[in-house]
């Protein structure tokens, strides 16, 4: 650690104002801040500060994502060897290693492209590089199908970082969740690679597929099942544990729940948003159960709705993204509830969009500032009323 510090100290004269490489200062500062704590002290206002800062916030989200990511890697291998009918003859590490090697390139591409652009923009503008992309760069691979071509990941990442984040002013200024926009971009630009039966399971190198193999996700199966008599495509416990086809990090509700606990316990993810999204989803699913027609999707009990697709992942990691969500207390409840309602509504009513969660969150991201505005105006009125009673 000391050597590293010395290195930074040595490099400092070159990048400071007047130094040879002064234009590299923001890059220097970014690496320094990543390795050490910044050196300024308070002058006025409060003299002490909570231990939480942006860096720690982001690190904790990354930690919370790890269970879902590791499980996702295992599941990629599991689905592959399952498709080949070789599950019984393959050991755990081989399965994991297969998935690891499949997922790793996507993560690397996402980070390299995203961070590259962030550094470039920070450099051009003379800003600092924020830690925000550490999370976005991990979220993007986790909501991709495993068979997505790497160049698409690169294009989508570049699109979302430039047009969703940097154009609006960087970390904290974006209206939408960048990771979800990357996903939405691919969904509309290259639908063939983002849906259908071939996107979700890596079947490359398999000579003969196992009998009864479909490759479709539970969501897709639910849509194609036409009558209520058709069996629910995947049973609750399989979806809950997550050994089903789907986007890399989204399948396992239990791994996501571990992440959710980490976020709630550290106070980083808003439990209000998570709870109200859950509530909204349950309410909408119940409405369909009671009033809906008789296709499988509408009659599907709500607990099944909650564990399939991106609902759990979106609730815990996407809806709670502070930048794009509502920030007032009451706003958070409204925002989350509407996401839950819309996600189930879109997913059930419009079979062309199996992933209603993505749409729902992006839509509510758009309305979050409006929700906040209404809540804040309401607060003013309430305070005014209170003082009038007295006067």
């Amino acid at each position: 650690m000391k050597d590293l510090n010395n290195l930074f100290e040595k490099a400092k004269p070159f990048v400071e104002k007047g130094g040879k490489f002064h234009w590299l200062y923001s890059t220097y500062e970014a690496f320094y801040a990543f390795c050490f704590v910044s050196k300024n002290t308070s002058k006025s206002g409060t003299h002490i500060h909570d231990y939480i800062d942006l860096k720690r916030t982001m690190s904790i989200v990354v930690i919370a994502l790890l269970p879902a990511l590791l499980f996702g890697m295992y599941n990629v291998g599991y689905q592959h060897f399952g498709a080949a009918g070789m599950l019984n003859s393959t050991d755990f590490f081989k399965i994991f290693l297969f998935g690891f090697l499949k997922v790793l390139p996507i993560i690397v591409v996402s980070y390299v492209v995203g961070l590259g652009i962030e550094f470039l923009f920070a450099q051009l503008r003379g800003h600092q590089v924020n830690e925000g992309f550490l999370v976005t760069g991990l979220l993007i691979p986790m909501i991709m199908p495993v068979n997505v071509p790497l160049w698409m990941v690169a294009v989508a990442t570049a699109f979302s970082v430039i047009f969703v984040k940097e154009v609006f002013g960087g970390t904290g200024m974006n209206v939408w969740n960048p990771a979800l926009v990357a996903r939405a971009f691919l969904f509309f630009a290259y639908p063939a690679h983002m849906s259908g039966d071939s996107a979700w399971i890596s079947v490359s190198g398999i000579e003969k597929l196992a009998d009864g193999f479909t490759g479709a996700t539970p969501l897709a199966q639910a849509i194609t099942a036409e009558t209520a008599n058709a069996p629910i495509p995947v049973d609750f416990w399989n979806s809950f544990t997550g050994l089903i086809p789907g986007s890399i990090g989204e399948t396992s509700t239990i791994a996501i729940l571990i992440g959710a606990l980490i976020l709630i316990f550290t106070g980083i993810g808003s439990w209000k948003i998570m709870l109200s999204t859950l509530g909204g989803g349950i309410v909408m699913a119940l409405i369909f159960n009671i009033f809906g027609g008789n296709n499988t999707y509408m009659t599907m009990p709500f607990w099944n709705q909650l564990v399939i697709g991106g609902f759990a992942f979106g609730t815990v990691f996407m809806a709670t993204d502070p930048v794009s969500s509502a920030q007032t207390e009451r706003g958070k409840w409204i925002y989350g509830f509407l996401i839950g309602v819309l996600a189930i509504l879109i997913r059930v009513i419009n079979p062309a969009f199996p992933e209603g969660m993505m749409m729902a969150i992006l839509l509510m991201n758009t309305f979050a500032p409006l929700i906040d505005y209404i809540v804040v105006q309401g607060n003013i009125k309430r305070r005014m009323k209170r003082s009038k009673i007295i006067a």
Partner: protein, 444 residues
């Protein structure tokens, strides 16, 4: 379930280093600088001349109006000069400088306490006024003004503030442990002055010994109850404490008396006891001197006007290089640039904070996490107030009730992007306050 205030609040680390240290008398200073404005309101008018001999407890400056307070000499000696000395805000304030000779007290100060049963409300308030007592929690609002509610308003309950929610500070805690009986007597005097029959002492749960001690002392007393409170900053704020104990909310822009509650700090209550029953004016107070670099964090009984460097030296530090000196607690206290500033009636602590502890990270863009809203004890939107203050949109700031801010600093404390929200909001408050005053004058 322990009581606490309803909205917002934070949990900074307690760091009550000096909680176990009994109150000690600080050796008397050679020279004292007694500011003539130690309270909210008009400065007092000096009534002594240069060269006059004074005794400790002698009136040296008279209240300059209704909202003002008398000032007494804290030592016996000679008035040397009238000179400005910096206060904790950094601005020079006029002081009466007295060189000490011996320690002779005014004869009217009693050694034994008088029986206070026969005193009526008016006498008690009058004695408090004579003794120059102000709110000793830091706000320094003259106590006699507080005890005379405006016409039409009636006090129903007296709340004694033993919360001491600022980290590090322990002066009130020690006072409750060592002067419990006197404080209870002070409470009864205040109740009599206000003509109320009910009183609650709010103490945070981290001071179990004080809760136990005062509960025992008040066990046979139907009028006074000790209310243990859940730990949460800023519970010691007047509005927060009223909310925690009575459940009532002080309306925007109104005084606490609107809720029928009058709040008094334990330090003030002790001073009231001494003033009324011992005829002793307010010229010394308990000050916590603390910090992790001090070899002996302490609670000192200090004469008003003592330069804080004498306190720091007595607590075991000779040099203050490489850190910050703060008058008050780490949340609301003020960093000072000189250790020559004198202790005043509102100085509850002197804190030496090492550099590592007072880190303020690089300010970044808001990530709209809403933590500041969650912690704001006044239910405001700090992020919004800070933004509009930065943009100088004073009308918007006023509309969003910027004047309700109590400057507790919870928002700055919690902001993950290190935005000095309180600094910005203070700017807004100052400007909006000016606009409001100008409007009032125009109206008249």
């Amino acid at each position: 379930m322990l009581k606490t205030f309803k909205i917002g609040g934070i949990h900074p680390a307690g760091n009550k280093l000096s909680a176990g240290k009994p109150i000690e008398k600080l050796p008397l200073p050679k020279i004292v600088f007694i500011p003539i404005a130690q309270h909210i309101g008009a400065p007092a008018k000096p009534i002594v001349q240069i060269g006059d001999k004074v005794k400790a407890g002698q009136l040296i400056a008279q209240a300059g109006g209704f909202v003002s307070a008398n000032i007494h000499s804290s030592v016996s000696g000679t008035v040397k000069k009238f000179a400005p000395a910096p206060d904790s805000g950094g601005y020079p304030k006029q002081c009466i400088v007295i060189e000490r000779e011996g320690d002779e007290w005014e004869e009217s100060i009693l050694n034994k306490e008088e029986n206070g049963d026969a005193l009526d409300s008016k006498t008690i308030i009058d004695r408090i006024k004579q003794a120059g007592i102000v709110g000793m929690g830091g706000a320094t609002f003259p106590t006699h003004v507080k005890l005379m509610p405006p016409p039409g308003k009636k006090a129903e309950i007296l709340i004694i503030n033993g919360v001491e929610c600022e980290p590090y500070l322990t002066a009130d805690h020690r006072l409750m442990l060592e002067k419990g009986e006197e404080i209870i007597k002070g409470i009864h005097l205040l109740m009599k002055a206000l003509n109320v029959k009910k009183s609650c002492i709010g103490i945070e749960n981290n001071k179990q010994d004080a809760i136990k001690h005062l509960t025992e002392l008040t066990s046979g007393d139907p009028e006074v109850t000790v209310v243990p409170l859940k730990m949460k900053y800023p519970q010691g704020g007047e509005k927060q404490l009223i909310n925690a104990i009575t459940g009532r909310e002080v309306p925007s822009g109104a005084l606490p008396i609107e809720t029928g509650a009058v709040v008094s700090n334990v330090g003030t209550t002790f001073a009231v006891y001494e003033a009324v029953l011992k005829n002793k004016p307010l010229f010394e107070r308990v000050v916590t001197v603390t910090g992790k670099r001090l070899s002996k964090p302490s609670n000192f009984l200090v004469r008003i006007g003592t330069p804080i460097k004498e306190l720091i030296e007595a607590a075991g530090v000779s040099s203050i290089e490489g850190g910050k000196v703060i008058c008050g607690g780490p949340m609301m206290g003020r960093a000072v640039n000189s250790t020559d500033i004198p202790v005043s009636k509102g100085t509850s602590g002197v804190l030496l904070l090492p550099e590592e502890e007072s880190k303020r990270g690089q300010e970044q863009d808001c990530i709209r996490c809403g933590r500041c809203i969650t912690v704001c004890p006044m239910g405001l939107e700090p992020y919004l107030l800070a933004t509009v203050s930065l943009k100088k949109q004073w009308d918007v700031a006023e509309e969003h009730n910027v004047m309700d801010c109590i400057e507790c600093g919870s928002c700055s404390f919690t902001c993950p992007t290190n935005r000095p929200l309180l600094d910005y909001i203070r700017q807004g408050k100052k400007n909006v306050g000016g606009i409001l005053r100008a409007r009032k004058i125009k109206k008249q």
